[in-house]
Amino acid sequence: MSKLYRHLALSLLCAALLAGCGGTETDTAQVKIAAAGPSEQHPAAIGGDFGPPQGEPVHAVLTSPPNVPPPTGRDHPAKVIVELEVIEQEMEISEGVKYTFWTFGGTVPGSFIRVRQGDTVEFHLKNNPSSKMPHNIDLHGVTGPGGGAASSFTAPGHASQFTFKALNQGLYIYHCATAPVGMHIANGMYGLILVEPPEGMQPVDKEYYVVQGDFYTVGKYREKGLQPFDMQKAIDENPTYVLFNGSEGALVGNHAIKANVGETVRLYVGNGGPNLVSSFHVIGEIFDRVRYEGGTHYQENVQTTLIPAGGAAITEFHVDVPGSYVLVDHSIFRAFNKGALAILKVDGPEDKTIYSGKEVDSVYLGDKAADLAAVTVATEAAASGEMTLEQQIKAGAALYNGTCSVCHQDNGAGLPDVFPPLAGSDFLMADPKRAIGIVLNGLSGPVTVNGVSFNSVMPPMSQLNDDEVANILTFVMNSWGNKATAVSAADVSAVRSNTQRTEGAAH
């Protein structure tokens, strides 16, 4: 620590770093003070200049998404040379759908850049000769006006160079800031630069690089062919696609990111925008730690973390159970209707103590379950041989509702001339066995009930089991003024076995 050279003087961080092209730049110059005491305990928590670069210049390792460069592994500030090339090219945004992306390094997001706090970064931006457009780069990890944009404005077939000192650790978005800024970003011109703390990142088993972006095409979602950019949709903030790593297929199937049970996974997640804020979530995982906003502090036990457009977060979690975990923007229509899905595939042995898999697969009846509680009670009582008439009537009432009451009505009165009454019915009460048979097999043709003739059709109710038929009949024969002894399941069973099952009856 004694080697650390620190500017204890006030260092002004110009707010222009964050200012866009709105022109109404609020001059909220921020004063950073390295307080003597706490800074010794948390040296990385504030911006710091660790002195001039030491040793030979280092060429930064750049990686394409979803890969992350290895740790810098350095304990001193160095001069780091970054060479990034802008390439405009057609790529697949969805299956059979092409889009002209403007890229940093040929990918969306652009190449991942990893340096150490205090490093002096010599940045070379090259614009491929085949480019139509001029481009530049605004790195949010730069302290200086425009984040490097003005110094890196580069015509096609040319290159620019500028140098900055990475004063603040953290995870930062970089993006093109050439007019119209929104269109350059919407075409995929963003990526992440990690400025490691001096002590490095804590080692983990897997590190991946994921950036969300929203895309605006003239054609509808998944409309085939080469799709031009739609400026009006972009202004309206109505994206056609919301994607991780620039394509619907970027992180699924064979391209899914992978981990093994027992490993700790760290995701460097950015949001390029241009418009949407991400509700980043991994289905089936809980982030053990999130360095929210890409800053120094972390929150623990996080389900969903908010990542602003032009912002980032570092999420870490331990994977305990194998399977496919789905990365989504939990503004969920974006995930399932606009493409914001990626897969983390975890291999390894099951751990049933943590997650069992499906143990029960049963019918769930919702509201009906409460109504049928009496049936359950009756069934249990019947099984134990202690069922009372009262229990049977209650169970029968629950079954009657929704099965019989549709025709015979809740009050058992039936409908005049169509459905005969059950209440006070001489036909019903005269012969319980006939009644059982009618429930099981239905009844068609003329009958006379209480002196009135009916001629209609009752379908067989053979879907009801013996208990249910017994309970229903016990209910109807002891309601609305009817009075009889209980009908037992054995009675029903006897009738059922003595009657021919009706052809085509429900079962």
Binding site: A16, C21, Q89, M133, A150, F153, T178, A179
Partner: protein
């Protein structure tokens, strides 16, 4: 040299695409104001070449003025990619068809070419004034479809430019102002760096990195033109790029 001569002869020539279109001057609202509070721009009558300069035409120029051959040009006047799409210093070859616009030319070379034909590069305002027209209207800029056509060219990756004079002709009789190549203008480096338009007490660097657009653009919806300005503002006089050509202009009282 014989082959070169044939190429020059084979360059498409017809009354429709040859020569200059006369454009009446006028007052119009440029996307870039001339200064604070000055919304209207006066454009004097001028004549604008109907098509960009072709490879065949530029070949004739470098033959007559060999100091502009790519192997002889002074490094101050053209960068290393000057005319690099040509097969050799005096043969455009298959990569640069005779009737396609010449590209990878510097502002100095373009200016010298126009001078050699007793013309000059158009100013930005002249170019913008002529380019505001579509096939039937002299100012179609408020038509979203017109803007969309320009943007659709930007949305395609760069390829070898097609022949000149094949696109729709605009109301002034001028071809290819959009959707073929970028074009040099005489005052390209004044758009961002030294006009009054940026003298508004703003940080010049901020203005520059925003391509001057958002702050001084009067017509913020005209992204297509904004992007052309951004492109021009990224250049220096010796720069050449694979999609950047030019055409010449003359004052209105000249033939």
């Amino acid at each position: 040299m014989l082959a070169a001569g044939l190429l020059a002869l084979s360059a498409g020539s017809s009354a429709a695409t040859d020569g200059y279109a006369a454009i009446d001057g006028g007052t119009f609202r440029s996307v870039l104001p001339a200064g604070p509070g000055i919304e209207q721009v006066d454009v004097a009558p001028f004549r604008l070449a109907k098509t960009p300069v072709t490879n065949a035409q530029f070949l004739a120029f470098v033959q007559k003025h060999p100091q502009w051959r790519r192997d002889r040009v002074a490094g101050l006047f053209a960068d290393q990619s000057y005319l690099q799409s040509w097969a050799n210093p005096v043969v455009p070859g298959a990569g640069a068809p005779a009737d396609a616009p010449v590209v990878q030319v510097s502002w100095f070379a373009a200016s010298a070419y126009c001078e050699s034909v007793e013309a000059r590069l158009p100013t930005w305002y002249e170019w913008e004034y002529a380019a505001a027209a579509d096939e039937t209207r002299t100012d179609a800029r408020s038509d979203p479809a017109f803007r969309a056509r320009m943007l659709s060219w930007y949305a395609r990756t760069a390829d070898t430019p097609a022949a000149v004079g094949k696109g729709p002709v605009n109301a002034y009789g001028v071809f290819d102002l959009h959707a073929l190549v970028w074009e040099w203008v005489s005052d390209f480096n004044a758009l961002m760096v030294s006009t009054d338009s940026r003298d508004q007490g703003e940080d010049p660097d901020l203005l520059k990195f925003c391509g001057a657009g958002a702050i001084t653009m009067q017509d913020k919806e005209n992204y297509a033109v904004l992007m052309r300005i951004a492109m021009l503002s990224s250049l220096q006089g010796a720069y050449t790029t694979a999609n950047l050509g030019f055409r010449c202009a003359r004052d209105g009282d000249e033939p």
